[in-house]
Amino acid sequence: MRIKNRTENPQKSVRVSKANKKKMQSESLCTAVKNGGKQVRASMCLMGLGQLLYKQIGKGILYLCVLVLAAFYFVKRGFADIAGLFTLGTKEADTWLGIEGDNSVVMLLMGILSVIAALCFILCYISNIKDVYETQKRVERGGKPATFREDLQQFLDKKFYKTVLFLPILGVCVFNILPIIFMIAIAFTNYGGTIVPPKLVDWVGFNNFVKLATLSQFSPTFLKILNWNIIWAVISTALNYFAGLGLALLLNKECVKGKALWRAFPVLAYAVPGFITLLGFKFMFSYGGPINQIITGMGNKAVGFLDIDAKWIARIIGLLVNAWISVPSIMLLATGLLSNRDVSQMESAKIDGANAFQQFRHITLPFVLFSTTPVLISQFIGNFNNFGIFFFLRGGLYIDGYFLASDTDLLINWLYNLSINNNYYNIGATISLVIFVITSLISLSIYTGSASYREEDTFR
């Protein structure tokens, strides 16, 4: 905390509440509009004109270019795209009459994109006005307008963060935020099932959520899977966490010699790519696999560990395989933390006559729990959305009583089955939103209820 504050200047480090900040921001725009001279007004009418009047040729032309580009884009397709966002297409394709209809899905995506583009343009426009106003103030104070070169140099120095964050933010917007907004939008349409382009898609409001909760096609499966998903997340997180922690404590014992060697085995498991492990375990438990060969060799019938009727066996195998994969990483983490631990506390506890268990219960555990709360949360969410385990172990299995799912499938597997394999895009998107709400609620409540949030400095 202390370190972070240093790049701030003193005025800024005074905490300004959010509302105030917003007010200040809009105020600065208002004052710019109110007190601006003719250059500011010129820029308000035509982006970049004010800058040109101040003889900031490079910057002025840049702003003008943005304006021209934006105008070109919006006239060419932007306005139509925004309109398309509301209608989602009006002309249905007809191959008989040779009509090339509207593709609702592409229209939706392009509509979202055009809204984002519009927002960006507005930001540009505001920055243009503010920029001229800054120059005006500078001139009023008797300075000279900044040259283009000086402006550019700012981007390596004071505005370095803008330069740096531009690419990452652009990438995240296009490949993370845009798809998420798109899917949220899909959850409120009837896109899916038989209604896919070239048929027209429509907005349906909260219909999909109602369907998921009430329709006999979806709701029993949904409730069953949700139930199992929560059980799975809790058990697997607890199992992995305490097994990893226990292993780390065991390796930390004084009587264990050659710690690096012992540690090498779990690290081996950690380093093998996950899909190899999972496919390997699938082979191990398959009908022709080694375990069944041994069972049949002893004269018994082969067991379908991951078969259709292997509900709890498959679930337990899933839990164990997941532990095999995740325990090493938690062990490594806990090892790292334990080496940072304050040993003097332990010494004094020992002198006071605390036994090993008491030391663990009252000193080690609180410390480790405190430090790893964020990890615990991410582990929980990771397990809640653990796609790989049952996708590899029992992928593609559909069981009676479940709609396009099996009894080991988690919500995320169901989501995959529905939307990628069976075109139920709208229901898939709705489930994603439900998952999002659940995971964010849980992690928020753990996080705000945890020690590391309430007492940030306890162990520093």
Binding site: L165, V272, F283, W324
Partner: protein, 278 residues
């Protein structure tokens, strides 16, 4: 006193027994796969319990020469290309993002941090269909660059670990450099970059391994057989090709395992930094 000594001894014995059991559990499946990759016949049905009945190097030879049905060398080259490029671009972006988020206080910083936190809570492939449509619009389906673009532009989302690391580097050095007239860019390049080697190695490793072993995106975006990555290719192998699967797995797992062991120190440091600071 004596009883205490025996107690200690018993404790040590039990500890070691548990440790041996744990090591066995972790070692056994790996050993099984390695031995299976040296089996003479390919099918899992010809095995004698866990282990092959006869050993030979044939499977490995076949893996690289018999490419008619399963073109492993090709898969391998594809995976290597995708993983290397995503690693380079992704690491660069993550380090810069984390550094900026740690060192600069600017308007919107808190908002960005909160947004990434919220975005991280959406199921990872919720947007897959949208990504697929976007990629078709850009004409990047069946192009390896499309995959690289997605991997590397998604990478900055995981900047928190790296930010935690940069938070621990004292700022007084920066200030001294600033007073000497260095720009922020120079401060980053000449001062902070050299001392952040551990976190760079950690980032590079994790952003290499993710594309290396991812199977969802390649499966969705690379439909042609020539463009398969190792993960997708190995998934298409059935029980009769078990030895081939084992050999292929061993061949791509070994470099990763060696890398992990060599970079162990960085790995633990990186993980701990991320965990404590959150």
């Amino acid at each position: 006193m004596k009883s205490r000594k025996t107690l200690r001894f018993m404790d040590s014995v039990v500890t070691h027994m548990i440790l041996i059991a744990v090591c066995f559990i972790f070692l056994f499946p790996c050993l099984w796969l390695i031995l299976a990759s040296f089996s003479k016949s390919g099918s899992i049905y010809s095995f004698d319990g866990f282990f092959p009945s006869e050993y030979s190097f044939d499977t490995f030879r076949m893996l690289f020469t018999d490419t008619e049905m399963y073109n492993y060398p090709r898969w391998f080259r594809n995976t290597l290309f995708i993983a290397t490029m995503s690693c380079l671009i992704g690491t660069f972006l993550v380090i810069l993002t984390a550094y900026t988020m740690s060192r600069f206080k600017f308007r919107g910083r808190k908002a960005i941090m909160k947004t990434t936190l919220v975005l991280g809570m959406f199921p990872s492939f919720m947007g897959m269909i949208a990504v697929y449509i976007i990629m078709t619009q850009f004409g990047l389906i069946n192009k390896m660059w499309g995959l690289i673009l997605i991997y590397s532009s998604g990478a900055p989302m995981g900047y928190l670990t790296q930010k935690g690391f940069f938070d621990t580097i004292p700022g007084s050095i920066d200030e001294a450099a600033r007073i000497d007239g260095a720009t922020n860019f120079q401060v980053f390049l000449k001062i902070n970059l050299p001392i952040s080697m551990p976190i760079i190695v950690y980032t590079a490793l994790t952003s290499f391994v993710f594309p290396w072993s991812d199977f969802i995106l390649p499966k969705l975006l690379l439909k042609e057989k020539d463009l398969y990555t190792v993960a997708v290719g190995l998934m298409s192998l059935g029980e009769t090709e078990f030895a081939r699967f084992a050999a292929g797995s061993v061949f791509i797992a070994v470099p990763i395992v060696i890398l992990y062991f060599c970079l162990m120190r960085f790995l633990v440091d990186g993980m701990t930094a991320g965990a404590v600071k959150g």
